[in-house]
Symmetry: C2
Subunit: 377 residues, 2 copies
């Protein structure tokens, strides 16, 4: 292997691929990056066995070969070099790196032991503009469960239909659902419906890689794997492929628990509501309880919290109320998590009674709901 | 106690005073702030018994009194409130806080149990412009020892003479000395020399409080305490007083170990030198060793590092060399710490032989030296 490559391009690829490479003590080969010099490209690969990544960089290839190099050492080293041409050469499982003022040798491993990243068939796909797609999945990705007992809710649920995609996450205390409407979808898709559950880590990496990346993102499906792919700007060749396993199991029928109609509906200024919850949270005690008194006559909501050791707080937020009076308590952390994902100036808070879930929606936007369980007395 | 005060001013004071209040489990009164309403002012005080702070804020005082309130709760709470007038009122050791939309009660303690922050006589002092003074002490503050066995080097040493102030810190592996020259000093000072050792925490807080604060800083001495004082912009009243105990013991005669003359002198571009040390550090192994080969014929320095497990690195930095050839090894961390405190474009590296300390100086600036011990073979 002998190639010449620009420091800046190599650094960018390594910084992304290194995140997938593991910090595993028991299976240390995963802490490495596989470098393969192909015709005109250097390919970087890493995997933690659940999630694999491949990244391509244009390079001048003098000799094709492969080598496996510790991810952290290589990434730090290349990151510190100046932005000049670098020569990478393999001799006896050692990588020689050289530019004008530096000569380094990093000890590598044979590429034979490196795990293979599975291929995904490229027949059916959906295509999105990367940045808005990532903004949408960001609105639910944090609500998955971290419990090991119900693996199916530890991931993010995707349901693809020809005319609608639903993206859902829940930890059984709260749930976020984002709907992506049809006019924004390109696809080659013959089934009636495809649904799957992806690990939260996969979605976080998708957001990390594609969240600020211009251009489009294609999602390919196979029964056990999903592939996210982005192309190079300069050529039609892929720049990045992220391959993830799916989580097995059936996603709960979450639509069952979304209230069909509400008895009390309140429209509030989102930032002011968020701020008052933050203040109330300081006095909310161990179970994070904040109490709301909603009275249509008062044209607003009273917010109470009390901690026997610290003290108590009371505040009032003006708002437009439809429906009946109600007292209800919520966990302030779950309220804040939902409000932080609502991007409109006003938020609609829909309630049934003090025992049923509440629903937060962006005012005038039907594509997002955030549902949360009340604290029952 | 009843006062009216602006949220923004109260927030600013609390954020600073809260840093001094402790997180002590055994002596929980120290985790509180003492609020005293004086004529026209609210005073906030906190102490960890080594370091005490007083902060004054202009307020409309209706009734003078004192109360002790948990630092973290009060600071978070006031921080979240909007910037409006706030009423603070004490009733039965409870602090009632009220503005337009909020009503809170925070449980307090009696002010009788709160430790007294010692007074320091205001006869003799030095006066400095806050910002440049803090920039200067920042150049040495990180080099103190964290070991408990030699408390005298756990602090920063100050030696005040009429015409010169020296500020020194060392951990016995490296040492920084900053000299403040006379034309920048105002003072009322009758002794020939005053010297003392201040805890590192004190100096870090001085930098935190005065480092971005326009105006002057006065330092008052007494045999056991030092007082740092800054005035309000609006009035001649103090805004902040920081009172610190001194560290007992005698500071080592550090000037003994500074080499009187060098055999080899190298002038290097500081940023390039720093960058090459960072790169070499990746291969430097457990004792952080980097080796330098200095040869006047080569018009530069060769830098080597080697790690039996990872690989090795070699680089070359051009520089102007006076004196003889030399091979010497240093700990890369100590080299970087020194270089980061040198603000000039070029750095002068002075060496005697491979066993004697090396000295880094900013090129053309006699006010700062950084001395570091070599790694001996």
């Amino acid at each position: 292997m002998k190639i010449i490559i620009l420091q800046e391009k190599l650094k960018k690829g390594l910084n992304i691929v290194e995140r997938i490479a593991g910090k595993s003590l028991t299976f240390s080969i995963l802490n490495n990056i596989l470098l393969s010099s192909e015709k005109s490209f250097l390919n970087l690969s890493a995997t933690d066995l659940e999630l694999g990544i491949k990244w391509w960089i244009l390079s001048k290839t003098e000799k094709e070969d492969k080598i496996v190099i510790p991810a952290k050492t290589l990434t730090s080293f290349i990151g510190f070099l100046p932005n000049q041409k670098i020569t990478l050469e393999k001799k006896d499982d050692v990588l020689y790196i050289e530019n004008e003022n530096y000569k380094s040798q990093i000890k590598g491993l044979s590429s034979e032991d490196f795990p293979i990243i599975p291929e995904v068939s490229k027949e059916e796909f959906f295509e999105f503009q990367s940045i808005p797609f990532c903004q949408k999945i960001s609105q639910v990705v944090d609500f998955t469960s971290s419990s090991q007992t119900r693996p199916e809710i530890s991931g993010v649920y995707f349901s693809f239909k020809k005319d609608e995609i639903r993206i859902v996450a829940t930890d059984s205390f709260r749930l976020g659902e984002k709907i992506i409407s049809p006019e924004k979808i390109n696809s080659r898709f013959s089934e009636k419906e495809v649904s799957f559950i992806l690990p939260q880590k996969t979605i976080k990496e998708v957001i990390n890689i594609f969240g600020e990346r211009e251009g489009s993102l294609k999602i390919y499906f196979s029964p056990n794997q999903v592939l996210f792919e982005g192309k190079m700007q300069e050529t039609d060749h892929p720049e990045v492929q992220l391959v993830s396993r799916l989580i097995e199991g059936e996603y709960p029928d979450y639509q069952e628990i979304i209230p069909k109609k509400s008895e009390t509906q309140i429209v509030l200024d989102k930032n002011e509501f968020l701020n008052q919850i933050k203040i109330a949270s300081l006095f909310s005690g161990k179970i994070n309880e904040i109490k709301f008194k909603i009275d249509p006559k008062k044209k607003g909501v009273e917010i109470f919290s009390q901690n026997p050791e610290l003290g108590e707080n009371q505040s009032f937020i003006p708002g437009e109320i439809k429906g009946g009076a109600l007292e209800i308590s919520f966990n302030h952390r779950f309220l804040m998590d939902g409000l932080l994902n609502i991007k409109t100036k006003d938020v609609v808070f829909e309630l049934v009674n003090s025992e049923s879930p509440g629903v937060l929606k962006p005012a005038g936007d039907l594509s997002y709901i955030y549902l949360l369980m009340p604290i029952k007395n």
